[in-house]
């Protein structure tokens, strides 16, 4: 069983279900990527795992513990970190304050974690006093990821971390994400840039209309002609 697992999830926002018996999991130190066409329920699946959506069926477990009924902020305490797709930084707060707010639930000294985040994203150390709203798109994403890392999560969930950034910045961000995974954190992310994302993925999930269509290692999905033709543009 995976370290973080959303099992047989069925649910949606109103009465209509968006997810149908969808299963997504990730191991510690690995990167799992969820890809699929627009409206496939990728972001919805992330929200469901993080508790921002009520599930009608299925369950979510972390390290074997059932957390299906927990609120998002309670899941943070269980070691989950989430980077939303939009509005994922406090724009009027400085970079440093953003990181401090990321560590809000921690009562111990978090200066070491902040140093680690600055080591991972050196540019943030340089701009620590600047309001996050004044940074470029790529730098903002770094703040967002850094903020989520401040609780020292065991699982980091990223909803389209490379949305709206240039290809060079995207490669750079993916490199950083690999680095984070190497520290033993499980990474689950949704990506529009399916090819690049599957390249770095240990595990890939292709969702279509809220259902699992293909589930395999990243490399196997890249090699699968059907997946290539339908979802990766040949």
């Amino acid at each position: 069983m995976s370290f973080l697992l959303g099992e047989n999830m069925t649910g949606g926002y109103g009465s209509a279900d968006i997810l149908h018996d969808c299963t997504i999991g990730v191991e510690q130190g690995e990167i799992a990527v969820v890809v699929g066409p627009n409206g496939a329920g990728k972001s919805t699946a992330m929200k469901a795992i993080f508790g921002m959506l009520n599930l009608r069926q299925g369950r979510v477990t972390i390290d074997g513990e059932d957390i299906t009924s927990l609120k998002p902020e309670e899941r943070v305490l269980k070691g989950m970190g989430f980077v939303p797709q939009t509005a994922n930084v406090f724009t009027s707060l400085s970079v440093e304050e953003n990181l401090e707010m990321g560590a809000f639930i921690r009562r111990d000294d978090f200066s070491k974690t902040m140093e680690q985040v600055f080591d991972l994203f050196p540019i943030l150390k340089e701009k620590r006093k600047q309001p996050a709203g004044e940074l470029s798109g790529g730098q903002r994403q770094q703040v967002a990821v850094g903020r989520a890392l401040m609780t020292e999560p065991k699982v980091l969930m990223l909803d389209e971390p490379t949305a709206g950034v240039s290809p060079i910045v995207m490669d750079e961000l993916f490199d950083r994400i690999i680095e984070v995974a190497r520290t033993g954190i499980a990474i689950l992310m949704v990506e529009q840039n399916a090819k690049q994302a599957l390249n770095i993925a240990d595990k890939g999930y292709v969702l279509v209309q809220g259902e699992n269509r293909f589930t395999d290692t990243g490399a196997a999905l890249m090699a699968n002609p059907e997946v290539r033709r339908a979802f990766l543009g040949g």
């Binding site: 930084v89 009027s92 707060l93």
Partner: protein
Amino acid sequence: MTDILNALVILANFIVVPAMAYGSQLALGALGITMIYSILRFSNFAHGELMSFGAMTTILVTWALQSADISLGVLPTALLGIPVAIAVTVVLALTIDKTVYQYYRRIRAEPVTLLIVSIGVMFLISGLIRFIIGPGDRVFTDGQRFLLKARAFKQMTGLNEGLAIKMTQGITVATAIVLVVLVFWFLNKTRTGKSMRAYSDNEDLALLSGINPERVVLITWVITAALAAVAGTLYGLDKSYKPFTYLSLLLPIFSAAIVGGVGNPIGAIAGGFVIAFSELTITFAYKKVLTYLLPDDMAPDTLMQLLSTDYKIALSFVILVIVLIFKPTGLFSGKTI
């Protein structure tokens, strides 16, 4: 040369000193409006009455102290009443929040609904005040009246015109500076203050970070009620306490908050002074000043007043409209309404 100095002293005496005091009172009021707006996301029309309630409590305590023969010497006894007034006003604000606003937060009411609710709260508090202390005019200043007397100033400088600074004006400005420094220190340096700014900036992300919204709201009310109690007392000390004036004070205070950029604390303070200085410079009669400055044959016969003081309140409305036309986010870009 002495003519110019005399003219400047008149301006200082009738515009700068009173506007500094009035501006401080408006700034403290606007700071409360802006805090509620940025955290609870509605325009709190009951803020004027909250100030009035604070002032009333101070008066009641002052009376009690005076009858017990306790005084502060040269300083007004009311200063001793302020801590009590803060405590009582905080309790009132929290009680209202728990019984009224909390319900509307839970059903996720629109800001405009909350605004209308706050008007109801305004009537409630104003009724309560009239029930307790009545609608009459109360003067509760005691101690020394002046920090600097006009005659002493004349003797000191040998000028014709005097400069007077009332004790209450000095206290008002000093208190405002202390409070503003405290509020800014709290918002920018403490963990709780930062979490309030974070909550105001991005509610969803604040929740994800484990910031407890009810705690943020509670602290916001504590700070707002404290500011309101002090601002109300200072205004009452400086002028006199009449419950009805706090309703008309609502307009300049809201103007100050919006002119500065609503949701922006620095803007609220700047806005307070902008409104105060414009009200006084535009309604001041410049006859005497011009008599000093112009050659004798050009001395004006009329009062040389741009606008009668009766229109003082309307003036803050005019400034508000001008700012909204040319810079809708306010002088220090706040949030757009």
